[in-house]
Protein backbone atom coordinates (compact mmCIF):
# COMPACT_ATOMS: atom_id res chain seq x y z
CA UNK A 1 0.00 0.00 0.00
CA UNK A 2 2.80 2.41 0.92
CA UNK A 3 4.65 1.73 -2.33
CA UNK A 4 1.53 2.32 -4.41
CA UNK A 5 0.82 5.51 -2.51
CA UNK A 6 4.40 6.69 -2.97
CA UNK A 7 4.15 6.03 -6.71
CA UNK A 8 0.81 7.81 -6.79
CA UNK A 9 2.29 10.81 -4.94
CA UNK A 10 5.18 10.84 -7.40
CA UNK A 11 2.75 10.77 -10.32
CA UNK A 12 0.73 13.66 -8.86
CA UNK A 13 3.97 15.55 -8.25
CA UNK A 14 5.06 15.06 -11.88
CA UNK A 15 1.64 15.91 -13.34
CA UNK A 16 1.19 18.92 -11.04
CA UNK A 17 4.67 20.26 -11.83
CA UNK A 18 4.11 19.72 -15.56
CA UNK A 19 0.76 21.50 -15.32
CA UNK A 20 2.24 24.50 -13.50
CA UNK A 21 5.20 24.52 -15.91
CA UNK A 22 2.88 24.54 -18.93
CA UNK A 23 0.47 27.00 -17.31
CA UNK A 24 3.26 29.54 -16.73
CA UNK A 25 5.23 28.99 -19.98
CA UNK A 26 8.10 27.36 -18.12
CA UNK A 27 7.77 29.64 -15.06
CA UNK A 28 8.30 32.68 -17.31
CA UNK A 29 4.76 34.08 -17.48
CA UNK A 30 2.70 34.48 -14.32
CA UNK A 31 0.54 37.31 -15.70
CA UNK A 32 -1.45 37.50 -18.92
CA UNK A 33 0.72 40.47 -19.99
CA UNK A 34 3.87 38.34 -19.80
CA UNK A 35 2.01 35.50 -21.52
CA UNK A 36 0.92 37.59 -24.53
CA UNK A 37 4.47 38.90 -25.01
CA UNK A 38 5.84 35.36 -25.08
CA UNK A 39 3.02 34.10 -27.31
CA UNK A 40 3.61 36.82 -29.92
CA UNK A 41 7.36 36.24 -29.90
CA UNK A 42 6.82 32.52 -30.37
CA UNK A 43 4.09 32.81 -33.01
CA UNK A 44 3.72 36.17 -34.77
CA UNK A 45 0.09 36.86 -35.61
CA UNK A 46 -1.44 38.79 -38.54
CA UNK A 47 -2.99 42.11 -37.62
CA UNK A 48 -6.48 42.94 -38.95
CA UNK A 49 -6.99 45.17 -41.98
CA UNK A 50 -8.07 48.11 -39.89
CA UNK A 51 -9.23 51.38 -41.42
CA UNK A 52 -8.16 54.34 -39.29
CA UNK A 53 -8.45 58.12 -39.29
CA UNK A 54 -5.42 60.21 -38.33
CA UNK A 55 -4.91 63.56 -36.60
CA UNK A 56 -5.46 65.40 -39.88
CA UNK A 57 -8.72 63.60 -40.59
CA UNK A 58 -7.10 61.45 -43.30
CA UNK A 59 -8.30 57.85 -43.62
CA UNK A 60 -5.79 55.04 -44.11
CA UNK A 61 -5.45 51.31 -43.61
CA UNK A 62 -2.91 49.35 -41.64
CA UNK A 63 -2.39 47.46 -44.87
CA UNK A 64 -0.94 50.64 -46.43
CA UNK A 65 2.17 49.95 -44.35
CA UNK A 66 2.88 46.50 -45.74
CA UNK A 67 6.60 46.34 -46.48
CA UNK A 68 7.41 48.67 -43.56
CA UNK A 69 7.79 48.05 -39.88
CA UNK A 70 5.19 49.74 -37.72
CA UNK A 71 5.45 50.29 -34.00
CA UNK A 72 1.97 50.52 -32.48
CA UNK A 73 0.78 51.70 -29.08
CA UNK A 74 -2.75 52.10 -27.71
CA UNK A 75 -3.77 55.15 -25.69
CA UNK A 76 -6.63 57.51 -24.96
CA UNK A 77 -5.55 61.12 -25.17
CA UNK A 78 -7.11 62.24 -21.84
CA UNK A 79 -4.94 59.70 -20.01
CA UNK A 80 -2.83 61.28 -17.30
CA UNK A 81 -0.76 58.27 -16.30
CA UNK A 82 0.66 55.40 -18.35
CA UNK A 83 -0.10 56.93 -21.78
CA UNK A 84 2.30 59.75 -20.90
CA UNK A 85 5.11 57.19 -20.64
CA UNK A 86 4.07 55.70 -23.99
CA UNK A 87 3.97 59.16 -25.58
CA UNK A 88 7.42 60.01 -24.21
CA UNK A 89 8.79 56.68 -25.48
CA UNK A 90 7.40 57.32 -28.98
CA UNK A 91 8.74 60.88 -28.90
CA UNK A 92 12.26 59.61 -28.19
CA UNK A 93 12.01 56.83 -30.77
CA UNK A 94 10.68 59.22 -33.44
CA UNK A 95 13.86 61.34 -33.21
CA UNK A 96 15.91 58.42 -34.51
CA UNK A 97 13.59 57.55 -37.40
CA UNK A 98 14.39 59.13 -40.75
CA UNK A 99 11.21 60.23 -42.58
CA UNK A 100 11.72 57.81 -45.49
CA UNK A 101 8.90 56.34 -47.54
CA UNK A 102 10.11 52.80 -46.85
CA UNK A 103 11.29 53.38 -43.27
CA UNK A 104 9.66 52.31 -40.04
CA UNK A 105 6.58 54.17 -38.80
CA UNK A 106 5.15 54.88 -35.38
CA UNK A 107 1.40 54.57 -34.98
CA UNK A 108 -0.58 55.56 -31.90
CA UNK A 109 -4.13 54.18 -31.91
CA UNK A 110 -6.81 55.57 -29.63
CA UNK A 111 -9.16 53.05 -28.04
CA UNK A 112 -11.56 55.86 -27.13
CA UNK A 113 -12.66 56.98 -30.61
CA UNK A 114 -15.77 58.77 -29.32
CA UNK A 115 -13.77 61.26 -27.28
CA UNK A 116 -10.63 61.22 -29.42
CA UNK A 117 -11.77 63.24 -32.41
CA UNK A 118 -9.15 64.31 -34.98
CA UNK A 119 -8.86 67.58 -33.04
CA UNK A 120 -8.07 65.70 -29.81
CA UNK A 121 -5.59 63.51 -31.69
CA UNK A 122 -3.95 66.65 -33.08
CA UNK A 123 -3.57 68.09 -29.57
CA UNK A 124 -1.93 64.83 -28.49
CA UNK A 125 0.40 65.03 -31.52
CA UNK A 126 1.33 68.62 -30.64
CA UNK A 127 1.97 67.70 -27.01
CA UNK A 128 4.64 65.22 -28.11
CA UNK A 129 5.81 67.14 -31.20
CA UNK A 130 4.83 64.23 -33.42
CA UNK A 131 5.96 64.55 -37.03
CA UNK A 132 3.18 62.96 -39.07
CA UNK A 133 5.74 61.65 -41.58
CA UNK A 134 7.03 59.16 -39.02
CA UNK A 135 4.37 59.17 -36.29
CA UNK A 136 0.65 59.09 -36.92
CA UNK A 137 -1.98 59.37 -34.20
CA UNK A 138 -5.19 57.68 -35.27
CA UNK A 139 -8.53 56.30 -34.20
CA UNK A 140 -10.49 53.32 -35.56
CA UNK A 141 -13.39 54.21 -37.86
CA UNK A 142 -15.87 51.93 -36.10
CA UNK A 143 -16.39 49.78 -33.01
CA UNK A 144 -15.88 46.50 -34.90
CA UNK A 145 -12.43 47.61 -36.06
CA UNK A 146 -11.52 48.69 -32.53
CA UNK A 147 -12.69 45.35 -31.11
CA UNK A 148 -10.71 43.41 -33.74
CA UNK A 149 -7.56 45.44 -33.00
CA UNK A 150 -7.85 45.06 -29.23
CA UNK A 151 -8.51 41.33 -29.61
CA UNK A 152 -5.52 40.73 -31.88
CA UNK A 153 -3.12 42.80 -29.80
CA UNK A 154 -4.70 41.43 -26.57
CA UNK A 155 -5.04 44.94 -25.18
CA UNK A 156 -7.55 44.98 -22.33
CA UNK A 157 -9.24 48.29 -21.50
CA UNK A 158 -11.12 48.51 -18.21
CA UNK A 159 -13.12 51.67 -17.37
CA UNK A 160 -12.69 52.94 -13.82
CA UNK A 161 -15.04 54.86 -11.53
CA UNK A 162 -13.65 58.26 -12.56
CA UNK A 163 -14.44 58.06 -16.28
CA UNK A 164 -10.84 57.04 -17.05
CA UNK A 165 -9.46 53.73 -18.31
CA UNK A 166 -6.86 51.27 -17.08
CA UNK A 167 -5.13 49.32 -19.84
CA UNK A 168 -2.01 47.32 -20.57
CA UNK A 169 0.65 49.55 -22.03
CA UNK A 170 3.42 48.36 -24.33
CA UNK A 171 5.12 48.93 -27.67
CA UNK A 172 3.88 46.50 -30.35
CA UNK A 173 6.12 45.81 -33.34
CA UNK A 174 4.35 44.85 -36.58
CA UNK A 175 6.71 43.49 -39.22
CA UNK A 176 6.84 44.10 -42.98
CA UNK A 177 4.38 41.26 -43.57
CA UNK A 178 1.76 42.82 -41.32
CA UNK A 179 2.33 40.43 -38.41
CA UNK A 180 2.55 41.41 -34.76
CA UNK A 181 5.95 39.94 -33.97
CA UNK A 182 7.26 41.47 -30.72
CA UNK A 183 5.90 43.35 -27.74
CA UNK A 184 8.30 45.55 -25.77
CA UNK A 185 7.85 47.28 -22.43
CA UNK A 186 7.79 51.07 -22.80
CA UNK A 187 11.12 51.37 -21.03
CA UNK A 188 12.89 48.95 -23.41
CA UNK A 189 13.73 51.76 -25.80
CA UNK A 190 17.13 50.50 -26.94
CA UNK A 191 15.83 47.06 -27.86
CA UNK A 192 12.81 48.61 -29.57
CA UNK A 193 14.93 51.04 -31.61
CA UNK A 194 17.25 48.21 -32.59
CA UNK A 195 14.34 46.00 -33.69
CA UNK A 196 12.82 48.90 -35.70
CA UNK A 197 16.01 49.58 -37.60
CA UNK A 198 17.11 45.99 -38.08
Amino acid sequence: MMLRSALCALLVLCLGSAGLWAGTDGLRAFTSEQARRLAVQRTPRPVPQAVLEDQDGRGFSLDDYRGRKVLVDFVYTRCRSICGALGAAFQRLSHDLPPASDGAMLLTISFDPQADTPAALKRYAQRYHADSKVWRIARPQDEATLAALLRTFEVVVVPDAYGEFQHNAALHLVDEDGRLMRIFAYDQLEQTAEALQR
Binding site: A9, G16, G23, S32, V158
Partner: protein, 201 residues
Amino acid sequence: MTGRNAWAWGLLLIWVVALPATRRALEASMVAHMLVQIPLLVLAGALLARCIPAKLRRGFEELDAHGVPGMLAAAFASSYWMLPRALDAALSDPLAELAKFWSLPLLVGVPLALSWPRMGPIGRGFVLANAISMIAVVGWLYREAPVRLCSWYLVDQQVLLGNALLALALLAGAGCTLRAFIGPLRRYPPPQAACRMSRST
Protein backbone atom coordinates in the same frame (compact mmCIF):
# COMPACT_ATOMS: atom_id res chain seq x y z
CA MET B 1 -26.51 16.28 6.13
CA THR B 2 -26.43 12.71 4.72
CA GLY B 3 -24.10 11.62 1.94
CA ARG B 4 -26.94 11.59 -0.57
CA ASN B 5 -28.02 15.08 0.45
CA ALA B 6 -24.45 16.35 0.30
CA TRP B 7 -24.22 15.22 -3.32
CA ALA B 8 -27.31 17.24 -4.21
CA TRP B 9 -26.07 20.28 -2.23
CA GLY B 10 -22.69 20.08 -3.98
CA LEU B 11 -24.23 20.06 -7.44
CA LEU B 12 -26.71 22.76 -6.45
CA LEU B 13 -23.86 24.94 -5.21
CA ILE B 14 -21.93 24.54 -8.49
CA TRP B 15 -25.09 25.33 -10.43
CA VAL B 16 -25.81 28.46 -8.39
CA VAL B 17 -22.20 29.68 -8.70
CA ALA B 18 -22.29 28.98 -12.46
CA LEU B 19 -25.52 30.95 -13.05
CA PRO B 20 -24.65 33.89 -15.33
CA ALA B 21 -25.86 36.50 -12.84
CA THR B 22 -23.95 34.94 -9.90
CA ARG B 23 -20.87 34.39 -12.02
CA ARG B 24 -20.87 38.00 -13.24
CA ALA B 25 -21.42 39.33 -9.73
CA LEU B 26 -18.66 37.23 -8.17
CA GLU B 27 -16.19 37.80 -10.99
CA ALA B 28 -16.79 41.57 -11.10
CA SER B 29 -14.50 41.96 -8.11
CA MET B 30 -11.11 40.34 -7.66
CA VAL B 31 -11.76 39.75 -3.95
CA ALA B 32 -15.09 37.99 -4.58
CA HIS B 33 -13.55 36.00 -7.43
CA MET B 34 -10.71 34.61 -5.35
CA LEU B 35 -12.15 34.62 -1.85
CA VAL B 36 -15.80 33.76 -2.50
CA GLN B 37 -16.28 32.02 -5.85
CA ILE B 38 -13.18 29.81 -5.69
CA PRO B 39 -13.79 28.68 -2.06
CA LEU B 40 -17.45 27.96 -2.92
CA LEU B 41 -16.36 25.68 -5.75
CA VAL B 42 -13.94 23.93 -3.39
CA LEU B 43 -16.75 23.55 -0.85
CA ALA B 44 -18.96 22.06 -3.57
CA GLY B 45 -16.24 19.48 -4.25
CA ALA B 46 -15.99 18.66 -0.55
CA LEU B 47 -19.76 18.07 -0.47
CA LEU B 48 -19.56 15.85 -3.55
CA ALA B 49 -16.82 13.81 -1.85
CA ARG B 50 -19.26 12.75 0.88
CA CYS B 51 -21.31 10.70 -1.54
CA ILE B 52 -18.48 8.83 -3.25
CA PRO B 53 -19.40 5.09 -3.23
CA ALA B 54 -17.63 3.06 -0.52
CA LYS B 55 -15.81 0.88 -3.07
CA LEU B 56 -14.39 3.87 -4.90
CA ARG B 57 -13.47 5.53 -1.61
CA ARG B 58 -11.56 2.39 -0.49
CA GLY B 59 -9.71 2.35 -3.83
CA PHE B 60 -8.76 6.00 -3.33
CA GLU B 61 -7.64 5.36 0.24
CA GLU B 62 -5.37 2.54 -0.87
CA LEU B 63 -3.53 4.99 -3.10
CA ASP B 64 -3.63 7.84 -0.62
CA ALA B 65 -1.51 6.78 2.37
CA HIS B 66 -1.51 9.54 5.00
CA GLY B 67 -3.46 11.70 2.56
CA VAL B 68 -0.28 12.77 0.77
CA PRO B 69 -1.17 12.26 -2.93
CA GLY B 70 -4.61 13.85 -2.48
CA MET B 71 -3.19 16.82 -0.64
CA LEU B 72 -0.52 17.27 -3.32
CA ALA B 73 -3.21 17.35 -6.03
CA ALA B 74 -5.17 19.96 -4.05
CA ALA B 75 -2.01 22.03 -3.50
CA PHE B 76 -1.05 22.09 -7.19
CA ALA B 77 -4.56 22.87 -8.45
CA SER B 78 -5.19 25.60 -5.86
CA SER B 79 -1.74 27.15 -6.51
CA TYR B 80 -2.58 27.45 -10.20
CA TRP B 81 -5.82 29.31 -9.51
CA MET B 82 -3.98 31.84 -7.34
CA LEU B 83 -1.97 33.04 -10.35
CA PRO B 84 -3.02 36.38 -11.85
CA ARG B 85 -2.79 34.80 -15.29
CA ALA B 86 -5.29 32.09 -14.33
CA LEU B 87 -7.79 34.67 -13.05
CA ASP B 88 -7.46 36.64 -16.30
CA ALA B 89 -7.84 33.49 -18.40
CA ALA B 90 -11.02 32.55 -16.56
CA LEU B 91 -12.50 35.92 -17.54
CA SER B 92 -11.39 35.99 -21.16
CA ASP B 93 -11.41 32.35 -22.25
CA PRO B 94 -14.57 30.20 -21.83
CA LEU B 95 -12.45 27.03 -21.85
CA ALA B 96 -10.38 28.30 -18.93
CA GLU B 97 -13.59 29.22 -17.10
CA LEU B 98 -14.90 25.70 -17.71
CA ALA B 99 -11.61 24.26 -16.45
CA LYS B 100 -11.97 26.33 -13.27
CA PHE B 101 -15.50 25.06 -12.67
CA TRP B 102 -14.48 21.40 -12.86
CA SER B 103 -10.92 21.49 -11.53
CA LEU B 104 -11.64 23.33 -8.28
CA PRO B 105 -14.37 20.93 -7.07
CA LEU B 106 -12.70 17.77 -8.37
CA LEU B 107 -8.98 18.47 -7.93
CA VAL B 108 -9.16 20.59 -4.77
CA GLY B 109 -12.49 20.03 -2.98
CA VAL B 110 -12.74 16.25 -3.33
CA PRO B 111 -9.09 15.44 -2.43
CA LEU B 112 -9.18 17.89 0.49
CA ALA B 113 -12.29 16.26 1.93
CA LEU B 114 -10.94 12.74 1.47
CA SER B 115 -7.28 13.26 2.36
CA TRP B 116 -7.41 15.77 5.20
CA PRO B 117 -9.00 13.37 7.74
CA ARG B 118 -6.35 10.78 6.84
CA MET B 119 -3.41 13.05 7.59
CA GLY B 120 -1.57 12.92 10.88
CA PRO B 121 -1.06 15.99 13.08
CA ILE B 122 2.42 16.67 11.68
CA GLY B 123 1.17 16.41 8.09
CA ARG B 124 -1.73 18.73 8.88
CA GLY B 125 0.56 21.21 10.57
CA PHE B 126 2.90 21.14 7.57
CA VAL B 127 0.02 21.71 5.12
CA LEU B 128 -1.48 24.52 7.19
CA ALA B 129 1.86 26.28 7.70
CA ASN B 130 2.56 26.14 3.97
CA ALA B 131 -0.94 27.20 2.95
CA ILE B 132 -0.93 30.15 5.34
CA SER B 133 2.52 31.30 4.27
CA MET B 134 1.57 30.93 0.59
CA ILE B 135 -1.58 33.02 1.11
CA ALA B 136 0.50 35.66 2.90
CA VAL B 137 3.15 35.76 0.15
CA VAL B 138 0.56 35.96 -2.64
CA GLY B 139 -1.31 38.64 -0.69
CA TRP B 140 1.86 40.65 -0.25
CA LEU B 141 2.68 40.31 -3.96
CA TYR B 142 -0.80 41.49 -5.01
CA ARG B 143 -0.62 44.38 -2.57
CA GLU B 144 2.88 45.61 -3.37
CA ALA B 145 3.26 44.80 -7.09
CA PRO B 146 4.37 47.96 -8.93
CA VAL B 147 2.33 46.96 -12.00
CA ARG B 148 -1.19 45.75 -12.62
CA LEU B 149 -1.03 41.96 -12.42
CA CYS B 150 -4.47 41.14 -13.81
CA SER B 151 -5.36 42.84 -17.09
CA TRP B 152 -9.07 42.45 -16.42
CA TYR B 153 -9.12 44.12 -13.00
CA LEU B 154 -8.39 47.64 -11.80
CA VAL B 155 -5.28 48.18 -9.74
CA ASP B 156 -7.27 49.12 -6.60
CA GLN B 157 -8.97 45.71 -6.78
CA GLN B 158 -5.52 44.15 -6.73
CA VAL B 159 -4.50 46.06 -3.62
CA LEU B 160 -7.81 45.18 -1.95
CA LEU B 161 -7.28 41.49 -2.71
CA GLY B 162 -3.72 41.70 -1.36
CA ASN B 163 -5.00 43.21 1.90
CA ALA B 164 -7.77 40.61 2.15
CA LEU B 165 -5.31 37.74 1.61
CA LEU B 166 -2.92 39.16 4.19
CA ALA B 167 -5.80 39.51 6.69
CA LEU B 168 -6.88 35.95 5.96
CA ALA B 169 -3.33 34.64 6.50
CA LEU B 170 -3.07 36.60 9.74
CA LEU B 171 -6.40 35.30 11.05
CA ALA B 172 -5.67 31.72 9.99
CA GLY B 173 -2.18 31.93 11.51
CA ALA B 174 -3.57 33.30 14.78
CA GLY B 175 -6.29 30.63 14.81
CA CYS B 176 -3.79 27.82 14.25
CA THR B 177 -1.42 29.20 16.87
CA LEU B 178 -4.19 29.43 19.45
CA ARG B 179 -5.39 25.95 18.61
CA ALA B 180 -1.87 24.52 18.77
CA PHE B 181 -1.16 25.94 22.22
CA ILE B 182 -4.61 25.89 23.79
CA GLY B 183 -7.16 23.76 21.95
CA PRO B 184 -5.83 20.21 21.63
CA LEU B 185 -4.29 20.10 25.15
CA ARG B 186 -7.79 19.92 26.61
CA ARG B 187 -8.45 16.66 24.85
CA TYR B 188 -5.44 14.86 26.29
CA PRO B 189 -5.85 13.21 29.71
CA PRO B 190 -3.74 14.79 32.48
CA PRO B 191 -0.31 13.06 32.90
CA GLN B 192 -1.29 11.22 36.12
CA ALA B 193 -4.46 9.83 34.54
CA ALA B 194 -2.44 8.75 31.52
CA CYS B 195 0.00 6.88 33.79
CA ARG B 196 -2.85 5.12 35.58
CA MET B 197 -4.32 4.14 32.20
CA SER B 198 -1.03 2.66 30.97
CA ARG B 199 -0.53 0.68 34.23
CA SER B 200 -4.00 -0.80 34.09
CA THR B 201 -3.60 -2.05 30.47
